[in-house]
């Protein structure tokens, strides 16, 4: 990511500060704020995984939370229905999500942009409908509550540390992927799939691989959700939730790596703050989104980075 290049010195200072401050927070903060931070990390990881295909691959991933939900349900079901060690459940669940990604990808990637997104919504809604109705297995619309989490990570501080560590590691891996040959090629596919074919890149295969990666880390986020909330419910993979995550990517800036994390932090915090004063959170969300689309389509972080590189800002196309 050359966009970040000019910030590279500062970036290390910030990174170091985070490495010192974040682990120390449980000493100062109440349970509620730890929970909020953990939720930000989970949601941010989910948004970042979506952005792998959305911002870096240009794919219309309209129903990403399916993979989040599948990961969460896979973990919750393994923890509640089998006697296996919970850790095995945590590790298996993201692979289950990745498998879903593979199947969905095989069906969807042959289609053009908008059709891809719509077919994904229909497949995702099918998964949602099944989970919603299958009371005997998934708990239906009630979901599954009181998932037994290992003692070492079930406390507020414990789940905070676990979430932080896994999110950090996942972000690092995704960052490496964005800056790998695959990541660069994927961005080229985003900018111009036709040209990519013409230079010898099998576009569909790259899109499939991207989708599987996104699904995998979506599943990781799902596992973390189970650890933080100790429950799962079908609404986490309802289509409106997918669009909310998409908004976080837009808010932070989807051509930046950390934008979605920033977007998630802002939205999760806002939601809990606004929630105190009014029950009309969705209206606030809607208005924020409208303002964004009108005035800041490149997102907050994208806007700041463009400002830092004046030579390019003028030439960036307005559209996504």
């Amino acid at each position: 990511m050359s966009i970040m290049g000019s910030m590279s010195q500062k970036r290390w200072v910030w990174g170091l500060a985070l490495i010192i401050v974040l682990p120390a927070l449980p000493l100062f903060l109440s349970r509620f704020y730890l929970y909020l931070l953990a939720l930000i990390a989970v949601t941010g990881l989910l948004a970042t995984s979506l952005n792998m295909v959305l911002g870096f691959g240009g794919m219309y991933q309209f129903h990403h939370t399916v993979f989040y939900g599948v990961g969460a349900y896979a973990a919750a079901l393994m923890l509640t229905k089998t006697g296996l060690t919970p850790w095995l459940g945590f590790i298996t669940a993201p692979f289950v999500s990745a498998m879903f990604g593979l199947v969905m990808g095989l069906i969807c990637v042959r289609l053009s942009k908008l059709y891809f997104g719509m077919l994904q919504i229909s497949l995702g809604s099918l998964v949602w409908a099944i989970v919603f109705r299958w009371y005997s297995f998934t708990g239906g619309d009630d979901g599954i509550h009181g998932v037994p989490i290992p003692d070492s990570i079930s406390s507020a501080a414990g789940s905070y540390y676990f979430t932080l560590a896994v999110t950090g590691a996942s972000l690092l891996i995704m960052w490496l992927m964005v800056n790998s040959p695959f990541g660069r090629t994927f961005q080229a596919v985003r900018d111009n799939p036709q040209r990519c074919e013409a230079i010898g890149v099998n576009v569909k295969r790259h899109q499939l691989v991207g989708l599987i990666i996104a699904a995998f880390f979506g599943g990781v986020a799902g596992v973390l959700f189970v650890v933080v909330e100790k429950s799962v419910f079908p609404d986490m993979m309802f289509w409106t939730h997918s669009l909310e995550i998409l908004i976080m990517c837009l808010l932070g800036g989807w051509y930046t790596f950390l934008g979605p994390m920033l977007g998630a932090a802002v939205m999760v915090t806002l939601r809990s703050l606004v929630g105190i004063y009014t029950e009309y959170w969705t209206m606030v969300l809607g208005i924020i989104l409208m303002l964004l689309i009108f005035f800041l389509p490149q997102g907050v972080l994208g806007f700041l980075l463009d400002k830092l590189r004046p030579d390019n800002s003028a030439a960036r196309p307005e559209e996504v």
């Binding site: 040959p181 090629t185 080229a188 990519c196 230079i199 576009v203 691989v209």
Partner: protein, 246 residues
């Protein structure tokens, strides 16, 4: 090297290419000319796999390539540039070419190696050759039109083609920029042994650099020959050149 035999393609009811024939041999510079709508771009799209032909054969080095997907055609050694600027507008100039080199090296599915250290020398060589080195770190979308056209060609060289197909490489360029492109084409054939197939409206350029010229009209190859033969052919003069030279 490249043989096109009785190629045909229609869109709906419209015959874009009715009967195209073409032979390109190693080391040649071949031009395809013809009025707008003669089917030149369609012909190129058929050869490089952007479109699938309805009928006819295309062979490259003896291998049948008609109907192969574009990325497979490219891997066999045919590369192309496009008439409209067709680059990766959010990537830097360097990255634009680097992706093409990575594709050639079959590294694009490599997930964890830092891309920073890969294909650097190959990419730089191409950028130096095309005079783009001083703009390497600029976002390609911010380049001037002329530079974007040059980058367009540079990308096509990223995967070391044997046959390079250029669709109106100098369209919209100033006389000075056109001269630069001509120089580039000469250098590519001389230094890299490239075979070049191109189409162009700038007749001066066509007649100055081509070894042979193919004239298309209404989707048909009507004449093929050396520049002199083509210039003196009455059919061509009537169909195409006549109007311009009078």
């Amino acid at each position: 090297m490249l043989r096109v035999h009785e190629l045909q393609k229609s869109f709906g009811g419209f015959m874009a290419v009715t009967e195209a024939n073409l032979a390109v041999d190693q080391g040649e510079i071949i031009a395809v000319i013809g009025p707008n709508g003669a089917g030149k771009t369609t012909l190129f799209n058929l050869i490089t796999g952007q479109l699938k032909p309805d009928k006819g054969r295309i062979t490259f080095k003896g291998q049948d390539i008609a109907g192969l997907p574009a990325y497979r055609v490219c891997r066999l050694g045919i590369s192309r540039s496009f008439q409209i600027v067709n680059i990766f507008s959010r990537l830097t100039v360097f990255e634009n070419v680097q992706v093409a080199v990575l594709a050639y090296l079959k590294r694009t599915l490599n997930l964890l190696r830092p891309v920073k250290h890969l294909a650097i020398r190959e990419t730089k060589d191409i950028l130096v050759n095309f005079g783009l080195m001083d703009k390497a770190d600029r976002t390609s979308g911010s380049l001037s039109y002329g530079d974007q056209k040059v980058l367009e060609m540079a990308i096509a060289l990223g995967n070391r083609p044997e046959l390079l197909i250029l669709d109106e490489p100098t369209a919209g360029m100033s006389a000075e920029e056109t001269a630069g492109v001509i120089k580039l084409i000469h250098r590519m054939t001389a230094d890299l042994g490239l075979t070049i197939l191109f189409c162009e409206h700038d007749m001066e350029m066509v007649f100055s650099i081509s070894h042979r010229i193919m004239v298309m009209q209404m989707g048909r190859t009507i004449v093929e020959g050396t520049p002199d033969e083509v210039k003196n052919n009455p059919m061509v003069q009537e169909a195409y050149l006549g109007g311009e030279e009078e």
